[in-house]
């Protein structure tokens, strides 16, 4: 993929994440901070499908943005064909692993498997 396309994705995921993370944080402030973290409250959040879908979207957006940012930083430090491929594929694998792990939590909790 062209670097210019990757940067557009980087900026797009950032802008989308700003809006969704703001909603996620505001949800913590609708109740008291400590109450919002109570087990029943968190479970209710996960079982509310629109909110769970938003969490999944935040997970994907931030994982893509975060690991691409890490890739950019690592490519600024050192260059070379093998190194660049290793960094790019390493970040891609880490991103997929994190999305899979986070999705597991969201899906299992949403489906009442807790």
């Amino acid at each position: 993929m062209r670097e210019s396309t990757i940067m557009k994705i980087h900026y797009g995921t950032a802008l989308a994440a700003i809006a969704l993370v703001a909603v996620h944080i505001l949800m913590r402030l609708t109740q008291g901070f400590a109450e919002s973290l109570e087990y029943e409250s968190v479970l209710a959040n996960y079982r509310f499908i629109p909110y769970a879908a938003m969490l999944e979207l935040i997970l994907i957006l931030l994982a893509v943005h975060g690991f691409n940012g890490l890739r950019v930083i690592l490519l600024e430090l050192k260059q070379g064909r093998t190194y660049e491929k290793a960094v790019s594929y390493g970040c891609l694998v880490a991103m997929i692993a994190l999305i899979a792990y986070g999705s597991r939590t969201i899906i299992m909790t949403n489906m009442g498997m807790v």
């Binding site: 950032a14 400590a34 479970l43 997970l59 994982a63 890490l70 792990y101 986070g102 939590t105």
Partner: protein, 143 residues
């Protein structure tokens, strides 16, 4: 003087008095990005404890809902706000907004892109990050 004597390493590179606030913002952007990625991975692991049931969730909350945990979260809030505000500034700059018009380079070669608009953007990001951190501390410790 040998070549090595000129080298100050990372300390020299991030020194805002030498290369300006733009270089400092460049480093802060990367540091906050790495910090936020580390927090994000930790947060994904933290929230996965819900699968351990109420006891497991409460056990993990006891670890994170401490004075140290709140202090770390306040730093995360500051990093998040700085990264967001400075990121918007960088995006606008990449889009050609606020970087000035192209002109003939004349001595003392002041880059048009490093102008007061972007400096204000960087200082605003730092101030807003500090305000958000204070607000976060008030919310977390105010209960």
């Amino acid at each position: 003087m040998t070549r090595d004597e000129h080298k100050e390493g990372i300390k020299g590179m991030i020194n805002p008095s030498r290369y300006g606030i733009e270089r400092f913002a460049y480093w802060l952007m990367r540091l906050t990005g790495l910090g936020l990625l580390a927090y994000f991975i930790g947060h994904i692991y933290e929230t996965s404890n819900i699968l351990r049931g109420q006891v497991g969730w409460n056990e993990f909350l006891e670890l994170t809902q401490t004075t140290e945990g709140h202090a770390i979260l306040a730093i995360v809030i500051a990093m998040c706000v700085f990264h967001t505000v400075n990121g918007i500034r960088v995006m606008l700059g990449h889009g050609g907004i606020g970087v000035g018009k192209p002109s003939r380079p004349d001595y003392p070669y002041d880059p048009a892109s490093q102008n007061y608009r972007h400096k204000i953007g960087i200082y605003s990001a730092i101030v807003l990050a500090a305000i958000a951190m204070m607000y976060g501390l008030a919310v977390m410790f105010g209960e």
